[in-house]
C-alpha cells in the first residue's frame, strides 16, 4: 500500500469522509441530546458536590481574610526564630481592632486556639485592653502589645499565626490520620492514646473485608442454586433473596436488634438448647459481632445478583464436559466452573466491599462503640461538632480509598472482567 492514501470521492464528487461526517452528524447530535440530561444530572448531583466537598476540606480562607494586613506585613519577617518586627505587631493590632468593630474577634480566637492552645485567653485580654482604650496608637505598638500578656512576647504564638496564612490547608487530612502540623511546620503524630481515627480506618477496612468474605461464602452457593434450579424453585428462591430489598433498611436493622440483643431470640434459643447459661448470655450486639451479622445479611443480595447473572450464562454442559473428560466433580468445578465465575465474583466483591466501607445506619444502630465505622465518625462531625471541613476531608479520604481499591482491582483482574448482568 502506498503511504499516501487516495481520497475517495462519492459519485457527486464530495470526498467520502465529508459525506460520511454529514450523514453521521445528525445521529451524533441525537445521541448527545439523549445523554445530555444524564450528564447534567451527574454534574449537578455528583461532580459539583464532590468539588464543593474538596474545596471545603482544604478551605482556610477565613483567617486569611481576617488578618490581611498582618500577613502582608509578615512577608517581611525574615528571621522566624526571633519576634517579628514592629510592622507585624501594628498590622495585627489594626486588623484585630477592625474585627472588634465587626464583633468577629471571637472567631479569630477560636481558630487560632486550634492552631495553638492559649490564644483564646490572650485575644480576650487584648480585647479588654482595646475596649478600655489602654493602647496608644501613636506609640510603639510592639512594646504595648508585649505588655498585654507574656504570650505575646513568645515567638511560638507569632509562628502559629504565620502558619495560618495560606488560604488552603491540609490540616484536616492530617487530622483524619491522627497527625498534625507541629509548630516547626513538620508533620507529627498525635499522642498514642488519642489516635482514634486510625483505629476507625483499620476497623472499617477489616469489617468491610470480612463482610465481603462472609457474603462471598454465603452468596456463592445461593447464586449457584439459583442458576441451576428449575424455574419454579429458582423463582421462589430469587424472591427470598430479593425480599430484603423490599424491606426498609431500618426495619431490617431493627429486627436484627430484636434477634441479637441479650434478651433477644437468638440468646433465648441458645439458653433453651443449653448452649449458654441464662445468667451468662453472650453479647451479640453493640459490638463487632452485631455489625458483621447485620451487614452481611443486608449486603448479601449485592453479592448474589452479579454472581447469579454470570452463573446463568455458564452452560451446564461445561461441567458435564469436565466430568466426562475425567475430572472429578471437584476438579470440574475448580478448573472449569469457578474460573468462569470470576467476573461475577469480582463484581460482587467490589460492590459489597465499596458499599460496606461507607456503611452508616447499620453500624450506628447495632455497632455500639466497638462496631462503628469511619462513616459514623463523619456523620458525627457533620451533625454534632459541625466541623464540616473535617467531615469533607474524611469523606474524600474514603472516596480516594475506594478509587485505590478500584485501581488495584483493575490491575489484578481488569475492569472489563466485571459483569453485573
Amino acid at each position: 500500500m502506498s503511504s499516501e492514501t487516495k481520497q475517495i470521492l462519492t459519485t457527486d464528487g464530495i470526498p467520502l469522509e465529508v459525506s460520511l461526517k454529514k450523514a453521521e452528524k445528525k445521529n451524533k447530535i441525537k445521541a448527545f441530546l439523549l445523554v445530555a440530561p444524564l450528564l447534567l444530572f451527574l454534574i449537578i448531583t455528583y461532580i459539583f458536590p464532590i468539588g464543593d466537598m474538596f474545596m471545603r476540606s482544604v478551605d482556610d480562607k477565613m483567617i486569611t481574610n481576617m488578618l490581611p494586613k498582618t500577613f502582608k506585613a509578615m512577608e517581611k519577617w525574615e528571621n522566624l526564630d526571633e519576634l517579628p518586627p514592629e510592622e507585624v505587631f501594628s498590622a495585627f493590632y489594626f486588623d484585630f481592632k477592625l474585627l472588634v468593630k465587626k464583633q468577629e474577634q471571637g472567631k479569630l480566637g477560636q481558630r487560632l486556639n486550634k492552631e495553638k492552645n492559649g490564644f483564646n485567653s490572650i485575644t480576650k485580654k487584648l480585647l479588654r485592653q482595646i475596649k478600655r482604650k489602654k493602647i496608644d496608637e501613636n506609640a510603639n505598638i510592639k512594646e504595648q502589645l508585649m505588655k498585654v500578656h507574656k504570650r505575646w512576647r513568645s515567638v511560638e504564638y507569632w509562628q502559629a499565626i504565620k502558619r495560618t496564612a495560606p488560604p488552603y490547608t491540609m490540616a484536616k487530612y492530617l487530622k483524619g490520620m491522627d497527625m498534625y502540623f507541629a509548630p516547626d511546620g513538620s508533620i507529627a503524630q498525635v499522642d498514642e492514646d488519642r489516635r482514634i481515627h486510625r483505629i476507625l480506618w483499620l476497623r472499617t477496612l477489616e469489617i468491610a473485608f470480612f463482610v465481603t468474605l462472609f457474603c462471598f461464602f454465603m452468596g456463592y452457593p445461593i447464586a449457584h442454586l439459583l442458576a441451576t434450579l428449575p424455574m419454579k424453585y429458582s423463582n421462589l428462591l430469587m424472591i427470598c433473596v430479593l425480599l430484603p430489598f423490599w424491606t426498609s433498611l431500618l426495619v431490617r436493622t431493627a429486627s436484627w436488634m430484636i434477634l441479637l440483643q441479650q434478651q433477644g431470640l437468638v440468646n433465648d434459643f441458645f439458653v433453651m438448647i443449653g448452649l449458654v447459661s441464662d445468667d451468662n448470655r453472650p453479647e451479640m450486639m453493640y459490638n463487632k459481632v452485631g455489625t458483621y451479622v447485620a451487614m452481611t445479611q443486608i449486603l448479601l443480595p449485592f453479592m448474589v445478583l452479579p454472581l447469579y447473572s454470570v452463573m446463568k450464562t455458564i452452560s451446564p454442559s461445561l461441567m458435564r464436559a469436565g466430568k466426562s473428560l475425567g475430572g472429578t466433580p471437584f476438579v470440574a468445578f475448580w478448573k472449569v466452573y469457578f474460573p468462569l465465575t470470576i467476573p461475577g465474583i469480582g463484581a460482587g466483591c467490589l460492590l459489597v466491599f465499596i458499599l460496606a466501607i461507607g456503611y452508616y445506619i447499620t453500624p450506628a444502630l447495632v455497632g455500639g462503640a466497638s462496631g462503628t465505622l469511619i462513616s459514623n465518625q463523619i456523620a458525627f462531625h457533620m451533625k454534632t461538632t459541625l466541623d464540616w471541613s473535617f467531615a469533607s476531608a474524611m469523606g474524600l479520604m474514603l472516596l480516594t480509598g475506594v478509587l485505590v481499591i478500584y485501581w488495584i482491582y483493575n490491575k489484578l483482574v481488569g475492569v472489563d472482567n466485571i459483569k453485573l448482568g
Binding site: 452452560s315 454442559s317 461445561l318 458435564r320 464436559a321 469436565g322 466430568k323 466426562s324 473428560l325 475425567g326 475430572g327 472429578t328 466433580p329 476438579v331 470440574a332 478448573k335 472449569v336 474460573p339 468462569l340
Partner: protein, 361 residues
Amino acid sequence: MSKNPEFVKFDKVDKSYDGKVLVVKDLQLDIAEGEFITMLGPSGSGKTTCLMMLAGFETPTHGEILLDGNIISNIPPHKRGIGMVFQNYALFPHMTVYENLAFPLRVRKVEKDEIDKKVDKALSMVSLSGFETRMPAQLSGGQQQRVAVARALVFDPAVVLMDEPLGALDKNLRESMQYEIKHIHESIGVTVVYVTHDQSEALTMSNRIAVFNDGKVQQLSNPAELYEKPVNSFVAEFIGENNTFNGEVVDIAKDKCKVKLANSEILANPISVKSKGEKTTVSLRPERALINPIDKMDNMFTGKIEEVIYHGDHTRVRLNLLGSSEFILKVPNSTSNLELKVSQDINIGWNSTDARALDPK
C-alpha cells in the same frame, strides 16, 4: 483382535423422570466394539436420554448398562472413560485449544511430554495443527466442532458419544464434517454412539442405526436395510420420502397381498400383516414408481399431474392417483426428459415387492 459384539449393552433399561411417564421403555441394545451406531429419532423420543445414561449423567430407573461386560450404572461419569462431544461443543471458553485438549490428560496425571505428543496428534487428526494457542471464541463453528471431537478422542476413550454435534453448523460444513468424523472413526476404530434427528446424517455416517420413537427402538439395522426395508410405518415415514395408501387386506399369499383402497385394489408385499381383514398402510418409495415402465410391473395405474416442481437433479411430480392427491414421483433429470405438464394423465407402475404393507397408521 476379536471384536466384542456386546461391548456396550443396554439390558432392559427403563427411564422415567417423574415416575409417571417412561421416557425410555425396556431398551435392549447391543453395540459392538468399533461400531458407529446412530440413535435417530424425533425430539422427545428418548435418544438423548439413552446417551446421557451411558455417559453417566442420568441413572436408569430400571435395568443395567454394561460396558465391556461390567455394570457401569454405579460408576460416576468421570470414571467411565467415555469421551463425549456435546451439542454446543462445550469447549472451556477460558482455556486455549491446547489447554482444552490437555484437560482430560492432565486430570489423568499424564506426563507433560506425553500430553504434548497426544495433543499434537489429536489436532493433526482434525487438521487443526497450529491452533494450540487460540481461544475457542477465536475459532469458527466448524473449527470449534473439530476441537470438541479432538478433545473427546485425545485420551483414547473406549467409547465416544456425540450428541447432535453438527446441529449448529450450516449445510455444507455439516456435510463435510460428516465425512470427516466418519473417516476419523474408520482410521482409529473407536466405538461411536451418535445421536441425531437428521436422517440423512444418520444414513451417511453409521454402521447401524437405531430408530427411536416413543422411548422404544423401532428398528435397528444398517442404513440400506433401514431405507429399503422399514419394518413399520413410523420408520418408513421417518426415513426418506414415502407414499402411503391406507386400506384393508382382502387377500394374502406368501409374498403378496391384495389391499383394498377406497375405490381400487393394489398388490403389496405383506410385512406386518398376517391375515385377511387387517387394516394396513402400504408404503412405497417415490423413486420406485416409474412413468410408462418398459418392464411388466404388477401395479399399473393412471394418474393426473397436479404439480411439477423442478429440483435441479430431479423433478418432483405430485399426482392424483388412486384417490389420493399426495402421491409423489421423483423423475431423474436425464437427457431423455419427458414432457411433464400439469393436468396431463400419465401411466405409473411399480412392483408389488416395493410396496410394503405395514402396520396401519
